[in-house]
Each structure stands twice: as structure tokens, then as C-alpha cells.
């Protein structure tokens, strides 16, 4: 037994040494090529299609750049922030990573990103909003490679069953429609208040529709505690009282399948992307789904954000990383991304063809899209506000109290940055 144990350890040690030897041998065999790691996420919802797309991208890129060994690692959306942060802190993370503006701001503030403006040959070809999303303190830290859009999707059958012929497009119309749908056991609006749901697709669109903003224009203070913030939360509470929100709105996730939208117990949602619209159509039937414009409160607004590539501070070969970033943001790549994922290009010279109403509605929503507010402390503020919105939805605080409490806590958090 002792001999076997010793032998096992010896074999294990030898195997480890052998693997180390193989690894270093591979490096030298490539004659000093740069290794660039890109962390990519399921922007293409279908797993197989995503894998095929990124494998093809990697192969094509390496064929054109024999001196760069590109490795694209596909990761899930879940816990993205934590994984990236931990990896950068440990010095073992990616050279390039897909981010959204407020997340990029967090990594910028904490010293995790380097400027990426070297990958932009002509800033004029990018849509202004897309480029602005990753620009902090006058420097570009996020290279936009696509642009997301969200529109309003309706389950028309549920509205018809409730005798509602005009689909609601404003807050008032939604409030008016709530009682009739509630009588059928249907909430007019889906809302996700769970801790893991980003407020960018839950509460912030309502705040923007009320005419408010999360932060002041210069980003130095929060602004959600104005009358618009209270109004947006009060809208949710009024809806809840009228039976217009799912019973577990305070804690439920955005899942369409198995959620109120997919089960036919919620009639509409304002935070629907191309992928979630597909899921809704699959769940309740394509013929029962209509996609419309973003909702209107005081103003019409929606969330639509650029997907931006960030260059991490652990990258050691900036030129190689910028070369990869350029390829990701190229017009051909953005056209291909639209075909594969349905996301729109972030630059004017990328060609796309829209041939269905839902995609057209999503594209039209870009005109009133807000990319998210990437001010210092944006993620902390989001986390704090989400907690107090939960309190209000659980009847533990009024809209005024919840917003005031969140504002005090958020200001305290920002003051420590």
C-alpha cells in the first residue's frame, strides 16, 4: 500500500512536470507569438451557434495574424463582475473582456482597465452614444462592438381576453388596463426585482421615462431622489395595488420561460431584447406576440447599451490586444454579429438588413435608448437602490421613504469612493 501511494505521488509529480515541460515547449515552438485571451459571453443566445461563431472568428483571426495566438473563452453571464474582478486581481484574467458601460466604469475606477483608444482608427464612424458609453474622463476605455436594444412586447391574446383592444403604450394606459387583466388572474406588466436583475432593464427605464436620471450630469452626485424617482416607484406601487404586477415582483428574476410572461400570467414587458422576444414567442405562440415601441411616461425611454471591449491592466502585449479589438469592432464583424445575435452595429459603416417587424421595432427604439449611467459608484448605487425598491414592493416603505433611504445610503457610498 505504501509503495503504491509513493508510486502514485511519483507518477503525479512526473505528470505535472511533464505537463509543465509540454507547456513551455509549446511556447518556444511558436517562436515568441503573443497570446491574447478574450472573455466573451452569450451575446449569441444559442449555445451551439455561439461556439461556432467564436471558433470561426478565432480561426479567421489567427489565419490573418500568425503572430497572435488568440484564445476566446466563452463564459456565462452569471457573476460576470465578480469573476472578472477576481481574475484581474489574481493576475490571471483576460487581456480583453466584454463589458457594458457601468461595469466598465467600475473596473476603470478600481484600476482594472487601460485606455483602448489605440484600437480606434476613425472615431467618426462610430455612433456617438456607443463611443460615449466607454469614455471616462475624456479617454476611451471601451471599444463598442455592438449595440443592444430593448422594446416592449405584448401577449395580445391576454389583452383580447380582457376585452382590451388598444395595447397600452403609456403609464396611464397601463394603469387603466391593470384591473381588467387582474380579473383574469393576469398582471398587466412583468417586473423583476430580484437582487441579480440589473436595474438597467427593470427600474432605470421607468426612471428615465419619468424624466429623471440616476446621477447628476457630471456624475458627482445621485439624482434619482428627485420627484421623478418617487414617481417611477409610485407607478410600480400603484400597479401592484391594482394587481398589475406579479405577486413575487420584488424577488422574481427576468426569466421568460417558467416566468409570468412565459406562463401567460403577465401580459407585457418593456425590457425585451431580440432573444427574450424569441423565448416569449416560443412560449405563448408567435401569433400572440406583438412588439412595440418603448413605453412613455413623461417621456419615451428605453435601455439600449453598447457591448464594449475593455483592455485589462494585466495585459502585457498591448499592440496584439489592440489588433484583436480592431477585428472585433470591424464593420464586417459587426454585420456578422447582427446576423448571428440580432444586436445592432455600433458604427455607421456596418451594413445590416432588417426584414421583420420585431427587429425593426428594436432598431427604432435606439432613438430613445439610454446606454446606462456610467458614473463613479454606479454599481454600488444600483445595488443600494435595488434593495430599497424591494422594500417598497414588499410594503415595508412608501415610495418616498424608499427613495430617500436609498439616496442617503448611496450618497454615503459615493463619498467613500
Amino acid at each position: 500500500m505504501r509503495t503504491r501511494t509513493t508510486a502514485t505521488i511519483a507518477v503525479g509529480a512526473a505528470a505535472a512536470l511533464a505537463l509543465t515541460a509540454c507547456s513551455s515547449g509549446d511556447d518556444s515552438a511558436e517562436g515568441g507569438s503573443s497570446e491574447i485571451t478574450l472573455w466573451m459571453y452569450p451575446v449569441i443566445a444559442d449555445e451551439d451557434a455561439s461556439r461556432d461563431y467564436w471558433e470561426a472568428f478565432e480561426t479567421d483571426f489567427e489565419a490573418e495574424h500568425s503572430d497572435i495566438d488568440l484564445s476566446i473563452e466563452l463564459l456565462p453571464w452569471a457573476d460576470r463582475e465578480e469573476k472578472i474582478g477576481t481574475a484581474i486581481a489574481a493576475g490571471t484574467g483576460p487581456d480583453l473582456v466584454l463589458l457594458v458601460p457601468d461595469l466598465a466604469r467600475n473596473f476603470y475606477d478600481t484600476g482594472g482597465l487601460k485606455p483602448i483608444d489605440g484600437a480606434i482608427d476613425d472615431p467618426g464612424v462610430y455612433f456617438e452614444g456607443a463611443l460615449a458609453g466607454g469614455t471616462f474622463d475624456g479617454e476611451i476605455y471601451g471599444l463598442p462592438i455592438y449595440q443592444t436594444a430593448n422594446a416592449t412586447a405584448y401577449n395580445t391574446a391576454l389583452f383580447e381576453d380582457a376585452g382590451i383592444t388598444e395595447l397600452p403604450q403609456t403609464w396611464d394606459e397601463i394603469l387603466d388596463a391593470a384591473p381588467a387583466l387582474a380579473e383574469n388572474g393576469v398582471s398587466v406588466l412583468d417586473y423583476s426585482g430580484s437582487a441579480e436583475t440589473t436595474l438597467n432593464i427593470s427600474f432605470y427605464p421607468l426612471l428615465w421615462q419619468a424624466g429623471g436620471s440616476v446621477f447628476t450630469e457630471d456624475g458627482s452626485d445621485i439624482a434619482f431622489d428627485g420627484p421623478e424617482g418617487v414617481e417611477a416607484l409610485q407607478f410600480l406601487l400603484d400597479l401592484q395595488e391594482a394587481g398589475g404586477l406579479p405577486a413575487d415582483a420584488a424577488t422574481k428574476t427576468t426569466a421568460v420561460e417558467g416566468g409570468p410572461l412565459g406562463l401567460g400570467t403577465a401580459a407585457m414587458s418593456y425590457g425585451m431584447s431580440g432573444a427574450t422576444i424569441d423565448q416569449l414567442e416560443a412560449a405563448v405562440g408567435e401569433e400572440n406576440v406583438t412588439v412595440g415601441a418603448p413605453l412613455t411616461g413623461a417621456v419615451q425611454a428605453s435601455f439600449g447599451t453598447p457591448g464594449i471591449i475593455g483592455l485589462t491592466t494585466i495585459n502585457e502585449d498591448e499592440e496584439a490586444a489592440l489588433e484583436v479589438a480592431r477585428a472585433l469592432a470591424a464593420p464586417e464583424a459587426q454585420s456578422a454579429m447582427f446576423e448571428a445575435a440580432g444586436w445592432f452595429p455600433s458604427r455607421e459603416d456596418a451594413e445590416i438588413t432588417i426584414d421583420d417587424d420585431a427587429t425593426q421595432a428594436l432598431f427604432d427604439s435606439l432613438a430613445v435608448s439610454n446606454p446606462g449611467e456610467a458614473a463613479p459608484g454606479a454599481r454600488q448605487v444600483m445595488s443600494i437602490l435595488a434593495t430599497h425598491i424591494q422594500s417598497a414592493l414588499q410594503g415595508q416603505a412608501t415610495a418616498e421613504e424608499a427613495i430617500a433611504d436609498a439616496a442617503a445610503e448611496a450618497r454615503d457610498a459615493i463619498s467613500r469612493l
Binding site: 465578480e82 484600476g111 482594472g112 430580484s194 437582487a195 454599481r379 434593495t387 414588499q394
Partner: protein, 307 residues
């Protein structure tokens, strides 16, 4: 001619021999312990020192930092979120620890009285302990969800759904404590069972002959003799309560409205969501100090009970 050896010389030889054997045994012991000691120092002790050092800085993702001395600690004392997490953790511990100790004690007593199938039941009851915390939490999430198994049955029976994970703090923490107790009671059960096996049977028989009923035997004989073991179980379960994270992370995300936002969750948020590593390290040190103080109190109780 015969030679004789003085008795005193024999004694010296014997002592020399035993000293050599003792030294040999000591070195063997050290050699056996050394690998674990080295691993402990590398993976526990040094990182702990690092965390204490980090708690005195404003360490950033980029590796840049400046020494801020005790700023993170003074901030902690004025931080309502931290103080709320401390309260939540204490409430959770107040629910979880008695629950798991009682469940462990009852199952240990039942197992101790079993005359057949002891091994099977012991293994079956220990099984949740070797189950992944995350897996257990996912299963219980399905059971406790608003539209989950229990609420589905309640609805079928015409009873309103119970907000296991969406209600107030007492409801949510109780639900989480039930899950943690289900998952963790097996270990404490085995420790208590070992303690029960050490209680002399003749003591219990004598008490029975003297007319003591089962309740009197338990409270007058079993529990006093089991006291050191019970205190040990209390302290390890209290430590487990202070370290609760996985179950909360999977089942409630610290919510709703921070109803289940524990100290370790606060540490996780500060460290891995907001990348405020210095403050996160300070929270870690605070948790260590809390657990350390509780352990010292436990040690005092143990010492007293042993004398």
C-alpha cells in the same frame, strides 16, 4: 566469575533508552505533522496575515494601494449596512444554532437506541452533510419558491402560499436556517452519538431502577455527562452560522431588502462586486475576531466543565 551491574546503572540505561525512544517518537510525530503544518502555514496562516495587512490599506484591482491604517475599521463601525449584516448574522445564528443542535441531539438519541439498522440510518442521516451546499440550496429553492413544491401543496389544500424566501426577516432566516440545519446536522449528530456511546450504561440502569423516567434520565444524567460534547457542537455550529454564505447566495441573494444579508455576504459584495479589497479584508478580520471571542468563551465553559 560473575559480573554484576548496579541497579542505579540499569535505571540510567533504561531512562537513556526511553529518552531516545521518546525523541525518536517526537521526530516521527513532527514528520507526520509537517506536511499538514506546511500546508496550513502556506494556505491559511500567511493569507490570514495578508488579509490583516490588506485591511489596513485601500488595495485596488490594479495592485496599487496606500496604507490607510484603521480607516476601514472606523468606517465599519459607522456603516449601517455592516451593522445590519451583523444583526442579521446574529439573528440567523440565534435561529440556526438551537435548531441544528436540537435536531442533531434528537437524531443521535434515536440512533443510540436503535437495535438494528444503525449503520444504515447513520449513513442515511449523514448523507446531507456530504451533499454540496449549492446543490442542496438549489433543491430547497425549488421546494420553498413562491410557486414551489410546498406552496403548490398549500395552494391545493386551499391555504395561502407561505413567503419562505420572500417574507420578512424572521421568515426568510428561518427558512434558510432549516436548509442549513438539514444540510449540516449529520456532523454534529455523529459527534453527539459518540458522546452518548461513552455514557456508562450502568448509570442509566441504576437511575431506571431508582424510578427515574426517560425525561429525568436525559436531563439529570445524559445531558450533564454530555455537556463538553454539547458545548463543542455549539461552538462549531456557531462558527458555521457566522460563516453562512452559500445557501444565502443561491436562495435569496441576501434579500429581500437585505433580510438575509449576512456578514460574509457583505464581505463578498465589498470584495468581489465593488472591489474594495481593503474594506472586505477588514470585514473578514471582524468576522475572525467575533468567532475567536466566541471560541474563547466556549473554551472557558469547556475548561470549567472538565474540572
Amino acid at each position: 566469575m560473575t559480573s554484576t551491574t548496579p541497579v542505579s546503572a540499569l535505571g540510567r540505561q533504561k531512562r537513556r533508552g526511553s529518552t531516545t525512544a521518546a525523541r525518536s517518537g517526537m521526530w516521527a510525530g513532527i514528520l507526520f505533522v509537517l506536511p499538514m503544518l506546511v500546508l496550513f502555514v502556506i494556505f491559511r496562516f500567511v493569507p490570514s496575515l495578508g488579509a490583516i495587512g490588506m485591511s489596513l490599506t485601500d488595495y485596488k484591482l490594479s495592485g496599487d494601494y496606500s496604507v490607510v491604517w484603521f480607516d476601514n475599521y472606523t468606517r465599519m463601525l459607522a456603516d449601517d449596512v455592516f451593522l445590519g449584516a451583523l444583526t442579521t448574522t446574529l439573528v440567523y445564528a440565534a435561529i440556526y444554532v438551537p435548531l441544528v443542535v436540537v435536531v442533531s441531539m434528537v437524531t443521535a438519541l434515536v440512533l443510540n437506541r436503535l437495535v438494528w439498522g444503525t449503520g444504515f440510518f447513520r449513513g442515511a442521516l449523514f448523507l446531507p452533510y456530504v451533499t454540496s451546499f449549492v446543490l442542496a440550496a438549489v433543491i430547497w429553492l425549488w421546494i420553498f419558491a413562491s410557486d414551489g413544491l410546498v406552496n403548490g401543496l398549500l395552494t391545493e389544500a386551499g391555504v395561502d402560499p407561505y413567503p419562505f424566501l420572500t417574507g420578512n426577516q424572521a421568515q426568510v432566516l428561518t427558512s434558510l436556517a432549516v436548509v442549513s440545519a438539514w444540510r449540516g446536522f449529520g456532523y454534529s449528530m455523529l459527534i453527539l452519538l459518540a458522546g452518548l456511546k461513552n455514557i456508562p450504561e450502568d448509570l442509566l440502569e441504576s437511575a431506571t431502577l431508582d424510578g427515574a423516567n426517560a425525561t429525568q434520565r436525559f436531563f439529570r444524567i445524559v445531558l450533564p455527562l454530555l455537556r463538553p460534547v454539547v458545548f463543542f457542537v455549539l461552538v462549531i455550529e456557531t462558527i458555521a452560522a457566522f460563516q453562512v454564505f452559500d445557501t444565502i447566495y443561491v436562495m435569496t441573494g441576501g434579500g429581500p431588502s437585505r433580510a438575509s444579508y449576512s456578514l460574509v455576504y457583505a464581505l463578498y459584495d465589498q470584495g468581489f462586486k465593488f472591489f474594495d479589497f481593503g474594506y472586505a479584508a477588514a470585514i473578514g478580520v471582524a468576522i475572525f475576531l467575533l468567532v475567536f471571542v466566541i471560541s474563547l468563551i466556549q473554551r472557558r465553559f469547556l475548561d470549567r466543565s472538565n474540572t
